[in-house]
Amino acid sequence: MKILVAIKQVPERDAPVRIGASGKWIEEADLQFALNEPDAYALEEALQLKDKHGGEVVAVSAGPERVGSTLREALAKGADRAIHIVCDDLGERDALGVARLLAGAIKPEDPDLVLTGLQSEDLGHGQTGVIVAELLGLPHATLILHVEKTETGIKAKREMEEGWFQFIETSTPAVLTMQSGGNKLRYATLMGIKRAKTKEMRQIAAAELGADATPTAVLESIVLPQKKKSTQMLSGSPKEAAAALVEKLKAEARVL
């Protein structure tokens, strides 16, 4: 089974994000970046399928030079090779624009399966996988926890709302967007990190893919959320704050 895994590099979860000078994007200068967590689950599922059925796992990501480190991490965890779509204006493209880049790089690979996380932790559109399927003319399923190979394709466990699940079957090739929590994520071993250095990482310039970059939804500005509620912050030492809170919950909110 040949599996392409589309991954994204995003700001680290606890990184302090600030609005950049343009007001249209965040200040990236001091940020640390990491692999988008839902994509880590997509990579894990791909590696487990390869462990069971053999084949090849190829990681693909779009973004500037720094994205190379996240692709290297995927290689260290066990991906066989990587494709880096070099693109410095990722944030200016909309979900369709980014999906066009990925689909353009994936199509010539002719994979059996394309996996990606259900959403990114930075923009959170949650659309890339579904649009890639549309552009490649492939069936898709979303919010998948586990994938089993069948004789004619795959059977996938899909999460629905409020604790419900269903199995969904489709032929391959297909595109699946992965929900988190289906597997335990593996760490890269020292041997894996060493091997990753010798694995193929091919760069493709975004321009080579000829994808239309004009967004139909333009991110005009980024603002700080306006508080809807006035939160009473309780200060002092932990002991003082705790005592103040108990008093408020009793006398003011009357919930104790």
């Binding site: 994000v17 979900a95 579904v130 919010l143 939804a217 991110l219 939160t231 309780l234």
Partner: protein, 322 residues
């Protein structure tokens, strides 16, 4: 025509609440709102939605539209949109919509503006970025219809200024051309993993724990707090993903929706997937080291500090107060 199509979603045989909210959002964009109901049997859904003063109601009906498949819904709605030529297509932001609306929009060369939480003149649509820490303002610039989905709870479900005694909207039918071979996925019956043994929905007090707890070995800290409060213990998704607490204790869009009198969020940053599951709580307390965490936007009381110091202090204070 121009105007707005609002795609309503069925929940247990009725129009779901977020669909009513999507109708409100649609009516703020334009008076000429058409509600669309879609499925294999849509008569009662159409009658239900027609109780609202709307431009009209369209029933998109075909035997292949039940059960839901992404292919079926995309094909049927593509045909409807080509026939109706709306300026806007509005969806409730549900799991089902996330499964097909991005593909449908792409078919028109458009990008869906998803999970919208507000709109302003222009129109400009607001949605959350960076796990809710920032908001982005999006302006549609395409020359096709603008596709958007609205977040649960972002708009009121009730129609504003509904004219009493307004004429009921006309209901018409739209029969899409569908072939069984075009439906490439075979969905199975929905099921639950096991009988739910914890009913967080009826709990009066909940202590909920998130990533900030760092390790399963630290859970006794919040268990003690829950015991001191007489509260149920709950968690955000990452805690259940890691297997530290069972999935049935998860609060959020993929878990349970709760509205207790008191909700204490410990080490939870407040990503939207969690907030939608608990923001209806009467009194919300947040304990988090990051004073800019979005959980403080919905909290009534906040303590910005190290939970490993604050939580034991709070447990002690509660015991002393009893």
């Amino acid at each position: 025509m121009s105007g707005v199509l609002v795609i309503c979603e069925e929940r247990a045989g009725r129009i779901g609440r977020t669909s009513w909210e999507a109708l409100t959002a649609g009516q703020r964009l334009n008076d000429a709102v058409t509600a669309v109901v879609i499925g294999a049997q849509t008569e009662s859904l159409a009658a239900e939605v027609a109780a609202r003063p709307l431009g009209k109601v369209i029933r998109v009906e075909h035997t292949l539209l039940a059960p839901y498949t992404g292919d079926g819904f995309t094909l049927a709605l593509e045909q409807l949109i080509r026939a109706e030529k709306p300026d806007y297509v509005v969806f409730p932001h549900t799991y089902q919509v996330r499964d097909y609306a991005p593909a449908l929009a792409a078919r028109f060369g458009q990008s869906l503006i998803g999970d919208v939480i507000g709109m302003a003149e222009g129109p400009v649509f607001a949605r959350q970025l960076m796990q809710g820490r920032l908001h982005g303002q999006y302006r549609p610039s395409g020359n096709g219809p603008c596709f958007l989905s609205v977040q649960a709870g972002a708009f009121p479900a009730e129609a504003a200024g509904a004219a009493a005694g307004a004429a009921s909207p006309a209901i018409s039918n739209f029969a899409p051309t569908l072939d069984a071979a075009q439906i490439r996925t075979r969905p199975g019956e929905p099921f639950r993993e096991s009988a739910q043994t914890v009913d967080l929905g009826s709990a009066q007090r909940i202590v909920s724990v998130g990533r900030g707890i760092k390790d399963a070995a630290n859970l006794p800290l919040v268990q003690d707090l829950a015991a001191a409060l007489g509260a149920e213990l709950a968690a955000s998704r990452p805690i259940c993903d890691a297997g530290w607490l069972p999935m049935e204790r998860q609060v959020g869009s993929s878990g349970q929706t709760v509205a207790p009198r008191l909700y204490v969020a410990v080490g939870i940053s407040g990503a939207i997937q969690h907030l939608v599951g608990m923001k209806g709580s009467q009194c919300i307390v947040a304990i988090n080291k990051d004073v800019e965490a979005p959980i403080f936007e919905v909290a009534d009381y906040g303590i910005s500090g190290d939970l490993f110091e604050v939580v034991p202090a709070l447990t002690e204070a509660l015991k002393a107060a009893q």
